[in-house]
């Protein structure tokens, strides 16, 4: 029996630019850990927060819901939130739930604009 792989969360902050890099699976088990980390991140004002999902192999509605909550909070507090580096499987979940139109999704993990 395998336990859920721990979700790795790396936070880099440079002045008012912030990057949160995730690696692993985001599901019901790991979403609460992610939520706690993200809420701590946005306690400090920022201009731009990049959520780097290139290392996320799997996400379900628990993870997507956590990111929706983050977006709602950043809408209120100010600062841009962008999602970057989504693998096809992860992007598909945003498309199925029609949330791909709700977020700014950038092509690569560096946060460059989609072409």
């Amino acid at each position: 029996m395998s336990d859920a792989s721990p979700l790795k969360i790396k936070i880099d902050r440079n002045d008012r630019q912030c990057r949160v890099t995730l690696a692993g699976d985001v599901d019901m088990g790991s979403a609460p850990v992610l939520r706690k980390a993200l809420l701590e991140v946005i306690e400090t004002p920022f201009d731009r927060l990049v959520l780097d999902l290139a290392g996320v192999n799997y996400i379900d509605s628990s993870g997507v819901g956590t990111i929706v909550e983050l977006r709602r909070r950043t809408d209120r507090s100010g600062g841009d939130l962008v999602l970057a580096g989504l693998q096809e499987r992860v992007r598909s979940v945003f498309e199925i739930t029609k949330l791909d139109k709700f977020f700014t999704i950038l092509d690569d993990a560096e946060g460059n604009a989609a072409t």
Partner: protein
């Protein structure tokens, strides 16, 4: 058909979700499905199990969940898959199990929408001696860029 079924005996622990995903994915890969079909099926099972843990067992851990996977008769599009998920938890009223309006952007309530979107058929039923069973079926679908959620057609039965 030659495809032996799969049975998983799980408990209502979030840490079991990965085990379920890996088991389902390996089995479906064995019948030759394309990656996008596998991903959708794995997602639906994960969402269903999450709902069982959250709503059926209301977060209580260590409770039984049985998952049964079977191949369905071959079609021109390929072999179909049926999944049954049986729990012994609280019976949520069937009319309360429905996807919500996606125009209402908020966390939560997306699991049933995902299941209905990616499966050809899904049905919950209460079991007389307790608990609920969810039956889901799907056949392979052509990959459609940006439109993987489109239903493929009527239920095979």
């Amino acid at each position: 058909m030659g495809h032996a079924g799969l049975k998983l005996e799980l408990t209502s622990d979030p840490g079991q979700l990965q085990k379920a995903r890996e088991g389902i994915e390996a089995w479906i890969r064995g019948i030759g499905w394309a990656p996008h079909d596998i991903a959708d099926m794995v997602l639906a099972v994960d969402e269903a199990l999450t709902n069982v843990i959250r709503h059926g067992y209301q977060g209580a851990t260590g409770q039984p969940i049985y998952v049964t996977v079977d191949a369905l008769a071959d079609r021109p599009t390929g072999v179909g898959v049926q999944i049954r998920i049986r729990d012994f938890g609280r019976q949520v009223p069937l009319d309360k199990i429905c996807g919500r309006d996606l125009e209402d952007i908020r966390p939560g309530g997306l699991g049933v929408h995902i299941i209905k979107s990616v499966m050809d058929f899904s049905e919950y039923r209460h079991i007389s001696d307790g608990g609920t069973e969810l039956v889901m079926r799907r056949y392979p679908r052509p990959k459609q860029e940006g439109d993987q959620a489109k239903p493929a057609g009527p239920d095979p039965e």
